[in-house]
Structure formats: structure tokens, C-alpha cells
């Protein structure tokens, strides 16, 4: 199809889908009048059953915990996939290094360090950011937030190090090996935490820890440890992905600096 035909063909089909969709949603409960039983039951039961005050976290890690295991595996596989896809082609592994080196030097491509003020400011942010991320991870079952969100925040810390120009530390923190170990460990932890419930005769991912008092940090049984595992896996996964994309630049810059 040429582009014009394709566009008009698509627009006609899109109109049809739109019409179909609108005629369908007219039969849905009106906006703002949720009536299904599932959510309401969970809202009512979670605090009694699980001593957790954030129901969304409870749904993610307890009621529908297996979904989250699947989702973490998606993250894991996609990180592995990115590593595989962006690996250096075998033809580029050996040659072209020297050439690049000289070329870089000749063109004066060394990137200047950020100014001292920027460095101090960015590096100074790392500490609070890590604390904030850890807080979000650890309080997932009490207040909004949890493994995912905290994990993502934690993952931005190494990037700040990168932005501050401290490339060697960044490379140390974020290189494939360490990060991948972190991710795999987090996921294995999640997977293993589900097993005791099964061994005790219940079912996979069944809670076996004491539930504690709701509202306290040590409450909700298995949710907190699973949350921590998720946090580790998510932050490691995101660091890994950004590192893969940055790797080449990083190497050139490190070489330029020498």
C-alpha cells in the first residue's frame, strides 16, 4: 500500500473501531459509579486479614502475588533481552578500538567535567535520594509506594553519579555483573519466599509470617520481605537497562579521559 492509501484505509477502520467502542461503553456503568464486588471486598477485608493499610500493595503482593512474580519475570527477561540485543557485534569486539581512540583524541572530543558546583549538588542529592527510595520500599504496605516505585527511585541514584561525572564509580556501581546478580537475587528471593507456604501444606505464596499490628512497619507478614525483593530486582533491572544504553558512551569517555 502506498502511504496515502494506507492512511485513509486506517482512518476508516479507526472510525469503525471508535463507533464500536462507544456503543459498547454506553452500556457500562457510568463513570464514577464503580459497582463490582471484587475491589470492595478487598477494601473491606485487607486490613483485617492482612493487617496492611495500603490495599493496592496487598493486591499486588498477596491477593494476586503471582501476577507480580510474572511481571517481575517480564522485567528480568527484558533486561536480559536488552543485554543480548545490544551486545557488541562479534566483528566490533576486537578491531576499531585504536582507530577510535586516535580519532577521538584528534578531534578533541573529550567531554569536559561538569563544574564543581554541579558535582557537589548532584552527588549531594544521592544520599537523600537513596534514603527516600528505601523509605518508599519499606513503607509499601502502609502508605502509597512500594517495591516498584522505591526501586525506580533507587535506580536513579547511580545515574546522578553518572551525571556528576564520576564515571569510574558509576561503572563500578552499575556494571552488568553486579547489577545482574542483584536482579537475579531479588527474583530468586521472591520465588523462594513463596515456597514456605507450599511446604506448610497451604499454597504457593501463602503467608507464613506473623501479621503484626496494622500500621506498624513490621506488619503484613510476607508482604514486607517480598516488597524488598521486588525493590532490589526493579532497581537493579532499571540500572542494568540504562547501563546497556550508556555503556558505549561510557567507554569512549573513560578512554578519552586517560
Amino acid at each position: 500500500m502506498n502511504r496515502r492509501v494506507r492512511r485513509w484505509f486506517f482512518l476508516i477502520c479507526a472510525c469503525a473501531i471508535f463507533g464500536l467502542f462507544v456503543s459498547a461503553v454506553r452500556q457500562m456503568p457510568t463513570f464514577g459509579h464503580y459497582r463490582g464486588p471484587y475491589g470492595d471486598i478487598l477494601n473491606r477485608e485487607t486490613v483485617y486479614e492482612r493487617h496492611i493499610t495500603d490495599v493496592v500493595t496487598a493486591v499486588n503482593f498477596d491477593w494476586r502475588g503471582i501476577d507480580t512474580l510474572g511481571e517481575e519475570s517480564i522485567l528480568f527477561l527484558s533486561v536480559i533481552g536488552t543485554l543480548v540485543l545490544l551486545r557488541k557485534p562479534s566483528s566490533e569486539v576486537n578491531d576499531s578500538h585504536d582507530e577510535n581512540d586516535t580519532a577521538d583524541k584528534r578531534k578533541g572530543r573529550e567531554i569536559p567535567l561538569p563544574s564543581a558546583a554541579t558535582r557537589v549538588a548532584t552527588l549531594g542529592l544521592v544520599g537523600p535520594l537513596v534514603v527516600f527510595g528505601l523509605y518508599i520500599v519499606a513503607h509499601g504496605h502502609l502508605t502509597p509506594g512500594g517495591g516498584f516505585q522505591g526501586g525506580v527511585i533507587l535506580a536513579t541514584a547511580p545515574l546522578l553519579v553518572y551525571l556528576a561525572g564520576d564515571l569510574k564509580s558509576f561503572k563500578r556501581i552499575a556494571n552488568h555483573e553486579t547489577v545482574q546478580i542483584g536482579e537475579a537475587l531479588g527474583l530468586l528471593g521472591f520465588l523462594i519466599l513463596g515456597l514456605p507456604g507450599m511446604i506448610r501444606g497451604g499454597a504457593y505464596l501463602r503467608n507464613v509470617l506473623p501479621l503484626g499490628t496494622s500500621g506498624h512497619v513490621f506488619s503484613g507478614g510476607m508482604i514486607a520481605p517480598i516488597n524488598v525483593c521486588t525493590g532490589v530486582a526493579v532497581s537493579a533491572g532499571l540500572v542494568a537497562v540504562t547501563y546497556v544504553f550508556l555503556e558505549h558512551t561510557l567507554e569512549t569517555r573513560l578512554r578519552g579521559r586517560r
Binding site: 452500556q27 543480548v84 507450599m198
Partner: protein
């Protein structure tokens, strides 16, 4: 609760995480053995589950959240012979491709194994899950693993193109399904298949129909049904051969299975009075898929692409088997799935061997170069017989059952569709066999190259012989394709399982109340075997004749006299343009057409 149920998901996942943890710190043989061990263990567990669930299906609630007063709180796995059997078949094919790939993939440590294991876990979870959102999660897990595996050979431009087409189409499909899921959730407030089905009752309003259409179209993208099938050939043509075995042998078929599962568990009550409408729409889809796939298959010379189009064609036949919406036809489709998966797996492995030995996958380049590999050629021909549905093969048993039901429902014309599809696809395989392994017939001019993929060798090391680890899996799959059709008592067992599968009320009672309604088995009527045997022999002969004709000089001369035929063929080929924009436009067309047709037929 039966502690075995989550294992088909957990074993491969654990193995994947473990290998991800060790990565380069463990030697290659260790990764190989872990992967093979995990696949076999999962297979054994699935077989045990299949056996245990034969009499009564097993429902497993994660976190021990059993339903309260008929409302599901957690996520369940539903094990019946179909779902467990599919998981077992996944593991079997995975085992074959793991063994086949012992010589493969030296370049990236053990990450290939990690991806494959994740892929296996996703497919097992996908077949066992009883929750709509959980199904979506495994759909995505399967997709992500599949995208990465498909784009594995990073140095060829075509690889990325195939992988992008695959990824974009499947992702759009997944999110369309998710919209449908949201509509179901708004209507019923439930995510569990059984509970949605119960809440829907007999409502067949436009909301329910549209939601179903969205979910179904999302799954049909995976199933490569017309007009969502365009990604499949591109993805198969570029993926590494061992991965193709899983793509063609089971992943695509799982899409059809999921449509069947969703229909029988949640829509059968609502659509019971309108079955003929759904049957009509799906028969059109299935027929188009089967015939288009067959035509495109015959027109290929890139062997993997040829096999991929034959997969499209046979998936169309599977869709027809489901579209009849009868337990008998469903049983036939299940048999057909196993028979076809094994045969197609064997064919792909032979293609991999050719690539290993000769460094090419093009019919023209390979002319006569397989003459020194008579046994490999024999497996290839065996696969061809599997595709055409010769009598002892699993495909024969399946086709026989489906056609019997079709005739009883006054859909006798489906015989012709079946005949054409299997004849043409098998003829393409025989043609390749004659040219490559016998060195007979006209040569394809390698000058008039079609724009297609230039495969490089996927393997390193010596190429002067066929290693046993490559030949044996192919041979075993070929034998399995025969065995799938001649296990005594199989037809009856599959029919019983199909009746349980299609028992809408029984499914709900089993999941939500833990009750067990006795299965009302359809007495297996003895279909007239003789006519089926004759038809299968006829199709085989026709396929051979067509292949002989295709390699004879008469074929080239005949081209001049068949302008309209050639022109329509060229048009069909132009549709498969390899441009993702076109494919997405066809996707929109498919959704709109299926949705409007179904809504219109049901409303009237």
C-alpha cells in the same frame, strides 16, 4: 492443594533466575544440563498433572485464597488434561530444541538459556492460568521472551525488521486485549474466568460482545489468524532455528487455545443462542488464514519462511476446528495441534541442519546439496506426510474428527478447505525435498532472487557431518508426529477431556464452589473411517503430484498461460510488504471487521 500445580511455572523460572545469577561464571555444559533438566522435570510434572486431572480437574488457588461465597479473591490455575497436556507438549518441544542447540550460540554466555527457560515458564503459565489478567501477564512474558529470542541474531538487518514487526503487532494485540479485559471488569467486577462467565449469564449486549471481540482479536494476533498473521512469517524467517520450533510448534497454537479457553469458560453462556454467528465469523477467518497461508507457503523459496506460512495455514485449520464450537471438533483440534506441532518441529530442525551443513536456507542454492543426507531427508519427508495428514499421523486423527463434526453440522465444504490447505502446504515441502535432497527437477534461477533473508550459519565448528544431537531430536519429533495418532484409547480420552473443557457450568462450579459435576461425555460415534482414509491418501497423492508438477519444466511454461493466477498471487505477496505500518492498518481492519460482523450478526 496439590503442590505440583505451580511447578510447571516455578521450575523453569527458578532455573532461569539461577542461570541469570551465575551467567558467565558457570560453564556452558552446566547451563545446558540445568536447562535440559528443568525442561524434563517440568515435562514430567505436567504429565503427572495431566494424568491426575483426567478424572477431575484440579483448581489451585495461589496464596490459598479460595473463593468466598462464590467470589474469587485470588488467582487460580486450572488443570485439566488439555492445559496440562499443552504444558507437557511445550516442555517436549523445548527439550528437543535444547538438545538440538547444544552446538549453538557460543557468543553470549548462557543468556540464551535464560530467555528460553523464561519462555517455557510463560507458555506453561499461559496454558494453566484461570484468570484473565494472569493470562495477560503470561501473554506479555511470553512475548517479551519471544521478541528477544527472535532478534537474537543481531547482525542482520532483516532480523531487526522481523523482530520489530513481531513486537509491535503483538504488543498492540496485548493492549487491545487489556482494553477488552477492562470492559469485562467494568461489566462484571471480576477477573476470574469462571466468575466473569457466571456474572455475564446470558447477556449478549453489545458491551459483552465488543469486550469479547477485543480479547479475542488480541489473542488471534498471537494465533496469527488472518488478517493479523503478517508478523509471523517475518519473525520465523529471522529467528534462530531452535526458537522457530517453539514459535511454530506451540506458541502460535497457544493463541487458539486461549481463545477456546476464554470462549468456553466465559462466553458460552452469553453466546449460546448466537453460536452460529460466532461460528460463521470464525470459519471465515479460519478459511482465509488456511488458504492464504497455503498459497504464500507454496510461493516461498526461503525454507524457514515457507514453513512459517505453512504454520499460518495449519493454524487456520485449528481455528476452524475450534470455530465449530463442538466438543468433538475441539478434540480433533487438540489431536491436530499435537500432530502438527511435532511434524513442524521436525521440519524446522531439518531446516536447521541444512543451514548447519550447507550455510544456506534458500531452495535455489541448496539444489541437490542434501543428497548426502538421506536420513535427514527422510525426516523431512516424514514431516511432509505429517502436514498432509497421512493415515497414522496425529494430524490424520485430528482432521478426521473435525471433518466428521463439520459434515454433521452441514459444513461439508470445509472438507475442501482442509484438502486444499494440506495439499498445497505439503506439496511445497515435497517440492523442496525433491530439489534439495534428491536433486531432481528444474533448478530455480538464483538470479531472479526474491528479496528475502540471507541466512548466515548459526553454528560454529566443523560442518562436514550432521551431529547426532541435531539429527536425533528431529527424528524423535518425526516419530512423535506419527505416535500422536496411534496411541490406543487416545481418541476417547481426548474426547472426554474436550467434553469437560467445553462444560461451561461445570467449569464454574469446579472453580468457584470446588464442586464436581460429572462430565456428560458425548458417546464417541464411530465416524466412517474409510472415506477419511481415502481422502487422506488422495490428499497425499495430490500433494506429490503437485510437487512433481512444480519441479517439472511444464510449470515454468505454464506460467505464461496463467496470467490472472500469477497476478492475484503477486497481489497477495504484495500485501506481505514487511512494513509495520501496513500490518498495523490490517490489524485495525481485522478488529473493525470482526467486531462489526459479530455485533451485527448477534443483534439481528
Amino acid at each position: 492443594m496439590n503442590p505440583l500445580v505451580p511447578l510447571p511455572l516455578l521450575i523453569p523460572l527458578a532455573a532461569a533466575f539461577l542461570l541469570g545469577l551465575l551467567n558467565k561464571r558457570c560453564p556452558r555444559w552446566f547451563a545446558d544440563s540445568i536447562a535440559i533438566l528443568a525442561a524434563s522435570a517440568t515435562g514430567v510434572v505436567s504429565l503427572i498433572l495431566m494424568h491426575e486431572s483426567a478424572l477431575r480437574p484440579i483448581v489451585y488457588w495461589y496464596g490459598a485464597w479460595t473463593p468466598r461465597s462464590g467470589i474469587a479473591l485470588g488467582v487460580d490455575f486450572y488443570v485439566d488434561p488439555f492445559s496440562a497436556g499443552l504444558a507437557a507438549f511445550v516442555c517436549l518441544l523445548a527439550l528437543a530444541s535444547f538438545i538440538f542447540s547444544l552446538h549453538y550460540f557460543d557468543s553470549v554466555g548462557n543468556l540464551f538459556h535464560v530467555l528460553m527457560l523464561g519462555f517455557i515458564a510463560a507458555m506453561c503459565g499461559f496454558s494453566l492460568s484461570g484468570d484473565l489478567f494472569n493470562l495477560f501477564v503470561y501473554f506479555e512474558l511470553m512475548s517479551v521472551a519471544a521478541f528477544a529470542l527472535c532478534g537474537y541474531k543481531t547482525e542482520e538487518p532483516s532480523t531487526q525488521q522481523g523482530a520489530i514487526n513481531f513486537a509491535v503487532l503483538n504488543t498492540i494485540g496485548a493492549f487491545l486485549a487489556l482494553l477488552g479485559l477492562g470492559m469485562f471488569y467494568a461489566r462484571t467486577g471480576a477477573l476470574n474466568l469462571a466468575q466473569i462467565g457466571r456474572t455475564l449469564g446470558h447477556d449478549s449486549g453489545v458491551l459483552v460482545v465488543t469486550s469479547f471481540v477485543f480479547v479475542m482479536c488480541g489473542l488471534l494476533v498471537k494465533a496469527a489468524a488472518f488478517p493479523f498473521h503478517f508478523w509471523l512469517a517475518d519473525a520465523h524467517a529471522v529467528a534462530p532455528t531452535p526458537v522457530c520450533v517453539l514459535f511454530s510448534g506451540i506458541m502460535v497454537e497457544l493463541g487458539v487455545y486461549a481463545v477456546a479457553r476464554v470462549y468456553w469458560s466465559l462466553m458460552d453462556g452469553a453466546l449460546a443462542p448466537h453460536r452460529s454467528a460466532l461460528t460463521g465469523v470464525l470459519l471465515v477467518v479460519g478459511t482465509m488464514t488456511a488458504l492464504l497461508g497455503a498459497c504464500m507457503c507454496f510461493a516461498q523459496r526461503h525454507i524457514k519462511r515457507l514453513l512459517a506460512f505453512s504454520t499460518i495455514s495449519h493454524t487456520g485449520l485449528l481455528i476452524i476446528g475450534f470455530a465449530l464450537l463442538k466438543p468433538g471438533a475441539l478434540a480433533g483440534a487438540a489431536l491436530y495441534l499435537i500432530g502438527h506441532g511435532a511434524a513442524k518441529g521436525a521440519l524446522f530442525l531439518v531446516a536447521g541442519i541444512l543451514l548447519h551443513r550447507c550455510g544456506s536456507i534458500d531452495e535455489a542454492h541448496l539444489y541437490g546439496r542434501g543428497r548426502k543426507m538421506p536420513w535427514t531427508g527422510a525426516v523431512f519427508v516424514l514431516g511432509g506426510f505429517g502436514l498432509v495428514g497421512l493415515i497414522p499421523f496425529g494430524t490424520f486423527a485430528g482432521e478426521h474428527a473435525i471433518e466428521f463434526i463439520a459434515e454433521r453440522n452441514h459444513q461439508g465444504w470445509l472438507d475442501i478447505v482442509f484438502f486444499l490447505a494440506v495439499t498445497i502446504t505439503a506439496a511445497a515441502v515435497f517440492r523442496v525435498y525433491a530439489r534439495v535432497f534428491l536433486g531432481r527437477g528444474t533448478r530455480l534461477s538464483s538470479g531472479a532472487r526474491l528479496k528475502t533473508v540471507d541466512e548466515r550459519r548459526e553454528t560454529s565448528g566443523p560442518h562436514n557431518h550432521v551431529p547426532a544431537v541435531m539429527f536425533l531430536p528431529a527424528f524423535a519429533l518425526g516419530l512423535l508426529a506419527i505416535a500422536a495418532g496411534c496411541i490406543p484409547g487416545e481418541t476417547h480420552a481426548v474426547l472426554t477431556a474436550a467434553c469437560a473443557f467445553a462444560d461451561h457450568a461445570g467449569y464454574q462450579a469446579r472453580v468457584l464452589e470446588g464442586a464436581f459435576l460429572p462430565i456428560q461425555a458425548v458417546a464417541s460415534e464411530h465416524a466412517p473411517l474409510l472415506s477419511s482414509v481415502l481422502r487422506s491418501l488422495g490428499a497425499t497423492l495430490a500433494a506429490i503430484a503437485l510437487a512433481v508438477f512444480a519441479i517439472s519444466p511444464a510449470w515454468d511454461r505454464g506460467r505464461i498461460y496463467s496470467r490472472p493466477f500469477a497476478r492475484s498471487m503477486a497481489f497477495i505477496r504484495r500485501l506481505h510488504s514487511g512494513r509495520v505500518g501496513d500490518y498495523v492498518a490490517y490489524f485495525a481492519f481485522g478488529v473493525a471487521a470482526i467486531g462489526i460482523a459479530l455485533a451485527f450478526l448477534i443483534a439481528s
